[in-house]
Symmetry: D2
Subunit: 347 residues, 4 copies
């Protein structure tokens, strides 16, 4: 931790800061700058509490933490990529993951048709919401447990793994009965009661980045789940909120290599929410493969114009098939590069 004092701090003020730092179990290296006093702090302790306390002192200009605030999710904790085996598929390894399906589970016919189509086109996970976070209380809120049962039926028919959203800590156990991966939506990324419950759910979790969350906050939320007992966390970039309205969100695609530098957890890209527009999904999907995401989650609907939600960003089935075909050479390049990386790390 580095503390810089305001100009013209007195000896007593500096001593008071040092005393407070010592209270937290840290040691001091004080440095007299030409212009202002800077205090360097070393040791092990409760960094956040110490920082908060120091920053509240009137003569302190700024206190900056040097070490990362997360631990278990960091590359420093674990050098190799995490690989999770879920429904007989490795996520995070040398297998590019395709999750696809409708925004919401709407009916048996719709979900079965979707599941069969995406499975035959090469997807390995079926997405579909049974609990839907909707901005308006008057919009369709999802089929709840009935939807989960239909997802199970689709799984039995196709072998696809199931990824579906959970919105409340109350529902974690219920959803965990049916799903292979519990999805946490962007609006719940910092629903800490939910994150804690996920720590004990015994299922993999996919954490979508909040609309205005930094990469660091995404990792802190992942740390919540891991610290509460569940190491199987998958990260997902789905676009952030900016001033630009030409797309539904702004895809911060460069966060994927950033996350790969900082963390060992797998990262999935959601080109459907990131753009909000069907015609942009194939191009952004190619970019996601090329930049090194571990997989994609894509909205596909047998009849997007009749979808109860997100129709504008859903591919129809022929469009999804064409996209899968077009992605093939990119996925081949991806696999070669991933295999080379894994071979290198073994050496």
């Amino acid at each position: 931790m580095i503390i810089s004092m305001k100009l013209h701090s007195t000896r007593e003020q500096i001593d008071a800061v040092c005393a407070r730092v010592n209270d937290f179990g840290y040691k001091i290296h004080s440095i007299e700058g030409e212009e202002r006093v800077v205090i360097a702090v070393v040791g092990v302790g409760d960094v956040t509490a110490c920082l908060e306390s120091i920053e509240a002192m009137p003569q302190v200009e700024r206190a900056v933490r040097i070490s990362a605030p997360y631990k278990f999710v960091s590359r420093e904790y674990r050098k190799e990529r995490s690989v999770f085996r879920i429904n007989n598929t490795d996520i995070g390894g040398d297998n590019f993951i395709m999750m696809a399906g409708p925004c919401s589970v709407e009916s048996e016919k719709q979900i079965m048709e979707s599941a069969e189509a995406v499975a035959s086109a090469g997807a390995t996970f079926l997405r579909g919401g049974a609990f839907k976070p909707r901005t308006s209380p008057y919009d369709f809120q999802g089929m709840a447990e009935d939807g989960l049962k239909l997802l199970r039926k689709a799984k039995e028919a196709t072998g696809l793994g199931i990824i579906t959203e959970v919105m409340s800590d109350r529902d974690v156990d219920l959803v965990a009965e049916y799903a292979d991966i519990l999805q946490i939506g962007a609006r719940n990324m910092q629903n800490f009661a939910l994150l804690k419950a996920l720590g004990k759910c015994g299922r993999a979790v996919m954490l979508k980045r909040g609309m205005s969350s930094t990469v660091k906050e995404l990792l802190m939320s992942a740390e919540y789940v891991v610290a509460h007992g569940n190491p199987q966390v998958i990260l997902c970039e789905r676009g952030i909120r900016t001033f630009e309205t030409a797309t539904r969100n702004t895809c911060d695609i460069a966060c994927i290599p950033v996350l790969n530098e900082l963390s060992h957890l797998p990262v999935i890209l959601d080109p459907s929410h990131a753009t909000g527009k069907r015609s942009l999904v194939p191009a952004l999907s190619r970019a996601g493969v090329a930049i090194g995401a571990d997989g994609l989650i894509v909205e596909v609907h047998p009849c997007p114009e009749k979808a109860v939600s997100d129709g504008a960003q859903s591919l129809d089935i022929p469009q999804f098939r064409k996209m899968m075909a077009d992605l093939k050479p990119y996925i081949n390049l991806w696999r070669a590069s991933r295999e080379a990386e894994m071979a290198a790390s073994v050496r």
Copy 2:
């Protein structure tokens, strides 16, 4: 609703859109523009579902909703300001509200000292978190029910109303036993499970605007609570997230008159979170009074340097007293203006 078709749409494509609109129970007024076809839609129906469906049609350029998506919280539904009587105090009327207290309840001594100090300086509500949303799983998470009990004790001693945060739908009933106003934090503004539970809690709710939520989304979240049975919703501006880092958040102060134009609900300003810096709180508080907020919620701590959270933005007790004294002439102007408005609306 207004639908604009892509250039060179064919007759069939236009007809298909019109047919879909009719499916939702709406009527059409089609207009041939010089450059592109625009379709105006009138009638009553499920606007969101219709919009989503239309936007998913390939020949549609854009579909724009004209009417507001919320109803009960709008000025059109209720012309006069809502006034809620809570703990013998009117919120939303001609009484400027001051809520004050520490970020977290830390100990009996701390909360009793805070309560007495803010009460004697003129506050009418005591704030203090028993359940704390913390970015890191390693930070202090609050005293939970023990904290709520201390808040009740402080209320008994001072007569102050209690406002405190609830983070999960599971805890709504518990917190409602102790609090006069349930506070929903910025990170939970779109925790829809929680919003639904608040609809039935029998207590007033203060909804903090999400860090990246629009004014419209804030009103939609309020609509959730009202539509689920609870009309007593207070809105709170606490700063939004932008590129600027000189302050903790960016206070969108102009949203206060915007909210007053769109809604009848009271609006509180939180200058502590909006700035993150003690020295800026008095100036922003004056601005909040002058712009017409219904009240302020301010962090005050007997010893900010020892606070477990948010010390840097907490006033100490003498600072709070001085601020209250300095605000007095502004509050007098506020009251005169509010009384004039109420007198005018009676006529």
Copy 3:
């Protein structure tokens, strides 16, 4: 400057960084942290160049500058507020400044009518653009020198000082002939060629904050003008660009006390561009006075519905008169507080 090395840096890597730092004339205080090496640097030199060089070194995690990058505009350089005497009016002292007038100079009739109306309502500066920055090449681009001549005529008739925009370093001398204050628009805040030319123009300059510029960048742009020879710089907050679209921009009103802490330069608030909506201007103006701005710049037009630009945010003349009357008690409080501050600083 504080440099933190990546984990597991070798002795040679650390030495290489120290050697580079020495190349720039700085001295080292090296500190071994428990987790990672942090290097503190003191002395005087070319900070930016040194920072850039250090950050380019592969084993460096981060390099942080401690001192502010600006000098002449800082409070540390000058403790008292700067007061500029312009057209017999003090800006920055105990006189609240009102600048008002139309967005563009459109005709003699329009500008004379505007000038007389705002002068009689109490404004001391007339605003009005002769060179207009317009997003579209097809929109009205201003009357250029003819507009400047009309402004001079309005000044002769009313005694108002003139503030008007200059968009290119080519036009600085021309505009300086007619104007008392040269206004730099938000889009030109980092037009460095223009800033340099302003250093030599012999007139006061009002620098509007860029739409996505930080407070620090605004001060750096002011520093450009001062460092090139012109100390008379006035800052202006006019709203920044965020995700919120309920207002034209988001007024970062808290930047006013922030700027007052960091700098001695006067700060003006522009509530018209900040909101983009006439009905919000009076409330935000009150907030601007209360928070301690040195003045306001407000769009006023004799007939907003016929304005060639910005009609929606312009007050008409009766509205402006009413606002001036309503502001009077707030301005009285402002003056009392400013006088108290000035009296205190004399002691």
Copy 4:
């Protein structure tokens, strides 16, 4: 244009709006909604002026433009991609463009070494700034004309085309003497005096998107250059400013397919400024190729640690060579796809 009136508008208010619309030469289609009156407007006229005027009328809720505000740069104006032949290279066709070189021209040795290295690795344009936009007046401002002369020398030695920045309309003719492409920096994207001068410079122009500019504003700035006489405009995405600080800017990569849908102009991606970090450049470059950019502009320096600017984001020469080799299979896929597109458009 679509105008929606406030609720409860009177007949006279509606008539007044219609009369104003007629003044601008437009025709009316009035539609009575159930809830509010919406007026549709058709015809040809000065849309912006009409919109501004209508929005200033008190009973108008909102006025929305339907047609795009730009013309020459739109796909509707020109269906095929624009291809510009510059220094014997086609930009916008089936040739992927690599522009590379240092941030600033620093010395003859530096620029010659850079030029030879990037040419031998496969680049076809040399970048390098002679006029540098720097946030601080105390930082290196570029070698000016001496720098331009060195760029010419590098061109003579290697055959590379030259792209370099111009910052003021005063310097356009000078820079046009030396450069093949004039680069406009993000901070000058809305320097309208400069854009107008570029309309007459007789050279291709690369327009970098402003830090907080929308896609639509970027196209409007391109429209300025084209409308003033110069059709050779290349667009460049270099990252926008958001709340995220893990990268220097946030790369809005999805704007590339958006721009391709809206416009026929070529689009270049700048992964160096978009990330600000050398280690992220290769991954983002792959994504740029995969998503369909027409080329990349990359910072390369013989010794990044000694660069006077942007060292942290510059590749050194071996890194650039490796990146070029790694990109090859992606560029092959790019070319195949572009050739297929061009073949299809011929049919």
